[in-house]
Each structure stands twice: as structure tokens, then as C-alpha cells.
């Protein structure tokens, strides 16, 4: 790993100022960034740790919206996001206990790994990503694998999740990495159903529009019977073919609908 300078500001303003430097990059839980720096896929000149900023930690819920601070770790969400049980359950299934004690929601969303769990939750919930300078509707946030609408030096300060009537996340685990081989997050709101799928597509997390329409009309796994996700844009790797993942999309959506509560 190449060396770097390390700073740990205690306010968002100081962090944003430190990130003005072209070579600077935010560090949150480090559960993605540190491994990638070891592989020299990333070589920032300065790491700006966000973990000293107390204002970015914690969970609150008001008026049907759950707000999670950008550097809140997965273990805290698992334990304290009871107002949105499917989201707490998702956080409890990320990686392993040590990863959950360090990794954060902001790091996961900013990274937009095509097999990560939080992107599916955010997209299925119609969440709002709040940064130091603006609010981004989740439908505009994810822009293909490892790509988001975030500008250089912009940091996620919190994420707002409208709490659905019912929801479920069903993750088909890749047993070695514990990431999602395919994971589906289904939500039902008064104005309709949203289905977001991670782990499957070359484009990263996506909404399955046909399933959303069918499930809005009839919220039952049977409503999916005639539908299929095309396999052409799906990922093929040693863990599964594109056809296998396309099939999993439908199976896991059905399971999520059946389990939604």
C-alpha cells in the first residue's frame, strides 16, 4: 500500500475543506477502501476519516421517515433501525460481525458495489441521499456499477428512508464473500410497490419495472408467474451464469413478496 497523510476532522465543514485537495479521499469504515488500497487500486494522497464527526452518526425516525447518519455502521443499523425492520434485517446480514462493526451506510452507497446490499434498500425505498451540499433522489443517484452522482469531495451526510407498509430483503448469499449473488428488496407503499435488485446486473442495482407493476396490482408471488428478467445484461462469473442470475431475480422477488411484513 502507498503511504498517505491522515486527517480526522470533527465537523463536516472541516472534512469538506480537507477534501478540496485533488488527492484526498474520504475514509469511513474502510472495509472496502483499505482492501482496495492494499491492492493499489486506490492510492489517495490524504485520507480524510469521517468517523470523528459525531453529527454524521445515529438513527432517528419521524413522520414516517427513518434517517440514518452517513457514518452509522451496519451493527448500529441492525440494532437500532427497528422502525424499519426489513432495513435492520438487511444490515444484520452484511458480511460478518467485524465488518458490521466498521462498515457504514455512506461508504456502501458511495461505493455502489454491484453486489452490495444497501443500494437495493435505498432504491426500493425511494430514499433521499443527503450530502454536504444537496439532496439527491435515489433514482438519480446510482449510475452503473461503482458509479454514483456524487461529485469529487462531496460526502454523504445522511440517508432518508420513507418507511413502507411492508418490505423484505431476500439475499442469495455468495458463500465465500457473503455479498449478494443476487438480492432483492421489495417494498409496498400506499402509492405502489418497488422492487430493487442487486448482485445480478452488469449495470449494478436496478428496478424491475414489470414486477413493480404486477405487484402493485396484486401483491402476491403468483403475480410474477408470467414475468421473466432478460438475461442479456446479467453478470456471468464463476459463481453463476447470466441465466442463473436472471432466474434468481424472479425467485428471490417471489420470496421477498411472501416474506414481506
Amino acid at each position: 500500500m502507498y503511504n498517505f497523510d491522515f486527517v480526522k476532522p470533527s465537523t463536516v465543514e472541516e472534512a469538506v475543506a480537507a477534501l478540496q485537495d485533488d488527492e484526498a479521499q474520504p475514509l469511513s469504515g474502510g472495509q472496502t477502501l483499505i482492501p482496495s488500497m492494499k491492492q493499489r487500486l486506490n492510492a489517495p494522497g490524504t485520507l480524510v476519516s469521517l468517523l470523528g464527526i459525531e453529527a454524521l452518526k445515529g438513527i432517528s425516525s419521524a413522520d414516517g421517515v427513518l434517517t440514518i447518519g452517513g457514518v452509522t455502521n451496519h451493527a448500529t443499523v441492525a440494532a437500532e433501525a427497528g422502525a424499519y425492520p426489513a432495513l435492520a434485517a438487511l444490515a444484520a446480514q452484511i458480511g460478518d460481525p467485524a465488518v458490521r462493526n466498521r462498515g457504514t451506510i455512506g461508504g456502501s452507497l458511495a461505493n455502489n458495489d454491484p453486489a452490495a446490499c444497501y443500494p437495493a434498500a435505498a432504491l426500493a425505498s425511494g430514499a433521499t441521499i443527503v450530502t454536504n451540499s444537496r439532496e439527491i433522489a435515489v433514482d438519480d443517484f446510482f449510475q452503473g456499477m461503482f458509479t454514483t452522482d456524487l461529485e469529487e469531495g462531496e460526502i454523504i451526510t445522511s440517508v432518508k428512508f420513507p418507511i413502507p407498509e411492508v418490505a423484505s430483503y431476500q439475499k442469495f448469499e455468495q458463500p465465500a464473500s457473503r455479498f449478494a449473488l443476487t438480492g432483492v428488496f421489495v417494498t409496498k407503499y400506499a402509492d405502489g410497490v418497488r422492487v430493487a435488485i442487486t448482485g445480478a446486473s452488469e449495470e449494478g442495482v436496478f428496478r424491475w419495472a414489470e414486477a413493480e407493476e404486477a405487484l402493485t396490482a396484486n401483491f402476491s408471488a403468483d403475480a410474477l408467474a408470467a414475468l421473466a428478467v432478460p438475461s442479456n445484461a446479467m453478470i456471468t462469473d464463476l459463481h453463476g451464469t447470466a441465466e442463473y442470475r436472471a432466474h434468481l431475480c424472479k425467485v428471490m422477488t417471489g420470496r421477498a413478496v411472501a416474506a414481506a411484513h
Binding site: 502507498y2 498517505f4 491522515f6 483499505i34 482492501p35 458480511g95 460481525p97
Partner: protein, 160 residues
């Protein structure tokens, strides 16, 4: 950069680079070689230590991030008189180790589970060990040791 922390209740400090991993600081800086580097890719859990009471992979955290923290390693697990703790003794009694490489991480992970959940079910033990890989034992005896350390009968542990 200078870094200070408490390791096993002892105040320590040392000179590190930004990129110095916590595991490197512990092993090379403090001579605490009980914490192992297995994979160095955040997968195996051999490097598990506690930072402010939370289990973390010390290969996936920088030493400077532990500034001011309370760190606990396997060297701090024995009783004050040097005898093995209940959990360590259970690993020995139930053959929870063969080569022993994964064992410090297993013990630290198990200690963290038992601190929160003193009588875990077998399924909870297995789930908690998801991030700790053992190439030797096949896990059954590790699970038995943890069940025994929590005062539970181990004959019931499934030999799946």
C-alpha cells in the same frame, strides 16, 4: 505520526505511518504476535481484536484510527494469574484447535459474542463465526468449545 492507545489495559504509544495497519502495530510495534495475519484481505478473521469492546479485523483498520482507543488482544485473555480463561480452557478441552493459526481470532470473536449473548444457541454461534475461517477443525469442536464455555451441554451440538 505518533499514536497512543491502551492495549490490554496498558498504555502504549509508537511511531507509525498512515498506512501502518493496526495488526502491524500490535505485532511489530508491540511484539504482540498472538494476533495473526492470515489473509490480509479482510476475509479470514485471524487478526480479530477488540477495539473499544467491538470485534474488528485489525488488518482492515489503520493504527492511527485506534488513537485513544482501548484495544484487547488474545494476550489479554488469560486470567490475572496466567491460567487460561474459561473460554481458552474450553478450546483446549474440546479440541477446538489443531494448528492453532485461527485460534486467537476465534477466541476474540467468541468472547465478543458471549459478552453480548451469554448463552447463545448453536445456530447463533455458527452465524457469529461467519467471518472466521479455520482450515483444520471443520468448526464442530470450536462450536462445542464455545457452547461449553457458556455453560451449556455440548453433546447436543449437531454433527452435520
Amino acid at each position: 505520526m505518533k499514536v497512543q492507545m491502551t492495549v490490554n489495559c496498558r498504555q502504549v504509544s509508537g511511531e507509525v505511518e498512515g498506512r501502518t495497519l493496526l495488526v502491524t502495530f500490535l505485532r511489530d510495534g508491540q511484539g504482540l504476535t498472538g494476533t495473526h495475519t492470515g489473509c490480509d484481505t479482510s476475509q479470514c478473521g485471524a487478526c480479530t481484536v477488540h477495539v473499544n469492546g467491538q470485534q474488528v479485523k485489525s488488518c482492515t483498520m489503520f493504527a492511527v484510527e485506534a488513537e485513544g482507543a482501548e484495544v484487547a488482544t488474545i494476550e489479554g485473555m488469560a486470567n490475572a494469574d496466567g491460567s487460561l480463561s474459561v473460554l481458552q480452557q474450553a478450546f483446549q478441552d474440546y479440541h477446538g484447535l489443531q494448528c492453532g493459526f485461527c485460534t486467537p481470532g476465534m477466541v476474540m470473536a467468541a468472547a465478543s459474542l458471549l459478552a453480548k449473548n451469554p448463552r447463545p444457541s448453536e445456530a447463533e454461534v455458527r452465524r457469529h463465526l461467519e467471518g472466521n475461517i479455520c482450515r483444520c477443525t471443520g468448526y464442530h469442536n470450536i462450536v462445542k468449545a464455545i457452547m461449553a464455555a457458556s455453560g451449556q451441554h455440548v453433546t447436543a451440538v449437531a454433527a452435520e
